[in-house]
Symmetry: C2
Subunit: 359 residues, 2 copies
């Protein structure tokens, strides 16, 4: 049987997607070979690749003046690729710091340009929150403003899109496709696939065309957005199987009713889990109400000594991967699109029983 | 039914490997989730990753003072990563030019250092060959000497490992694991996975430890061999599913008797195909005897106007992807490890019939 998988990434994929992939793994559409055994330039694969792009464009209502790139290397390689692509004409950028991932991004960017860091973390009644953009000391003339829309480890998420002058660049690795998004507000968004898109090894970059031609001289050619855009993300062989699987996830999302529909379910899931935590005296979430992530829910137990028991018992109930990130400890339930409301209900039921037994 | 697939890459994978992957796609070893849904840091995935590395080490007899890295981005990203990693102390390298891929590598390297290009292509009785290393004007003090051991497009391969002073760096994308290799002769070898290893999206780098700490300042952190070596190729999330599939291919290779055994079959395949081409008046291979690739066999027809008919007829016989690279035209049969002797026999039978009909 399939367990409930709360892994932060690589994360759960829809069972229906895996079943389809399984069915056509050895012989794709009667062609006598696997999709992963086909040239990326073959008519069949190009059709699969283009359909994935079209479906993603539809799902997020991506305007025509944005290119969608299917790249390799993970969001962490984008931490370098972004300044290398965008700081060639103007060497200055603002980075909003709200947690571990935005910090990694800004540390890497500092190696390539003049980086103005805005410390945007704050506390509200002992809970973590994000300061208002009006208080941010933004540069007059930054090439872009970067932020992590959802901090996967901290479980803190922006409830608004910052209104800034410079092009907005956002890491959406753990929140893309979880809720409607007004792409036209951004210069660039990027996301590692392994949360809401597909398997690890694929990275999506959505970039406004007018930002394509300002790369720095030292950029590795493969990382150049302009070249990848011109070549349909095939300057070299892309991660074809990951691209195909992501396409299956996009089809599945459209079948579910698209991003609006999945967002409603995501809201129900989040309300159920946060609602239970808030009324319990045994569990705690460290984030102020307005800034809670809809995808990653960190929580602690009243007695930290019970953590190991909690994880072992959870596993017996087929509730997997609930340990928090090794850098912060505690628990974390990642409730991405592929995690069902049933799964969250099963988790809450278990948490309730566990609290009763050990509280 | 499964066709015979002569694609140059992404290329054929062993049917047994795909069957195993298919069987455990939704539920890996009864754990209730797919291997692609697991954290790369989970005990289960780390065991899979380490076994793949151990098996590869065994297959190629890789000495202990070499690190094996499982990276993303393709061999083309290594065209930048290699100079960025190796030219930090000494900014000079020699590049041996024998075809399209070695040319791409040297063009990218020129962006980062002083590159001395050795034109090593030559003609022997109208057939392409490689000059002897004794004639090469190598630098006195290069940081490394780079060459492409097998030119996938040209179908030309080194019948020897060049004996040079500086550390030898070799692109083995299309020949790794096809024949025994004395790794101790190299400073670094690298290979995109999508020919003899696994699906596209994974790149293997095997690097001698003493070369790890000489990177250039501008290198993107994710590309730094020293950091990836220290972190078991997990500085960020690796391409976990590709890593797992490559591990299945390594297991399959060991079951076949290892590289020595597969090499014998590869020799039989090459002898069968080249032998038939050589005695035919209808087909031609452009490479001199000693320099023919054991993996990629380009050939032309007596009448180029028949190429389209040849491809259409071949497909009717379940012989797929025989078109040459778009940059050179003609035909090409890539006969990697996963292409069986039966497959090559079926190709030769078809070629014979086609020549009889159209010759």
């Amino acid at each position: 049987m399939r367990a409930y998988n709360f892994c932060a990434g690589p994360a759960a994929l829809p069972t229906a997607v895996l079943e389809k992939a399984q069915q056509e793994l050895l012989d794709w559409h009667g062609k006598g070979l696997s999709i992963m055994e086909m040239s990326h330039r073959s008519k069949d694969f190009v059709a699969v690749a283009e359909k994935a792009e079209t479906d993603l464009r539809q799902l997020l209502h991506i305007p025509e003046n944005y290119k969608i790139l299917f790249l390799q290397g993970g969001a962490s390689l984008q931490f370098s690729a972004i300044p290398l692509n965008l700081l060639g004409k103007n060497n200055k950028a603002d980075y909003i710091h709200t947690g571990i991932w935005s910090e990694k991004a800004l540390k890497e960017a500092r190696r390539y340009g003049e980086i103005n860091v805005i410390e945007a973390g704050t506390d509200v009644d002992g809970k973590k929150a994000i300061t208002s953009p009006e208080t941010w000391a933004l540069s007059d003339n930054a090439a872009y403003v970067h932020y992590a829309e959802n901090e996967t480890i901290g479980g803190i998420q922006f409830p608004f899109i910052p209104d800034v002058q410079a092009p907005l660049v956002a890491d959406l690795s753990s929140s893309i496709l979880s809720a409607p998004l007004d792409i036209s507000r951004f210069g660039l968004i990027y996301a590692g696939a392994q949360k809401n898109i597909g398997p690890a090894g694929l990275t999506i970059v959505i970039v406004r065309e007018d930002l394509l031609d300002q790369s720095k001289l030292e950029i590795p050619s493969i990382l150049k957005y302009a070249d990848q855009a011109k070549n349909g993300s095939m300057v070299n062989t892309p991660a074809t199987y990951s691209w195909y699987l992501s396409g299956l996830v996009f089809e599945w999302l459209l079948e579910q009713g698209g991003v609006d529909a999945i967002h409603k379910i995501n809201q129900q899931k989040a309300e159920l889990l946060y609602g239970y935590i808030d009324q319990s005296e045994f569990y705690q979430n460290p984030i102020a109400l307005d800034y809670r992530s809809i995808m990653n829910v960190p929580f602690t137990l009243a007695d930290a000594a019970l953590e190991k028991t909690f994880l072992v018992e959870a596993e017996k109930h087929h509730l997997l991967n609930l340990a928090g990130h090794r850098s912060v400890g505690g628990m974390r339930a990642s409730i991405y699109n592929a995690v069902s409301l049933d799964g969250v209900q099963a988790l809450v039921d278990f948490m309730q029983d566990f609290a009763r037994q050990h509280g």
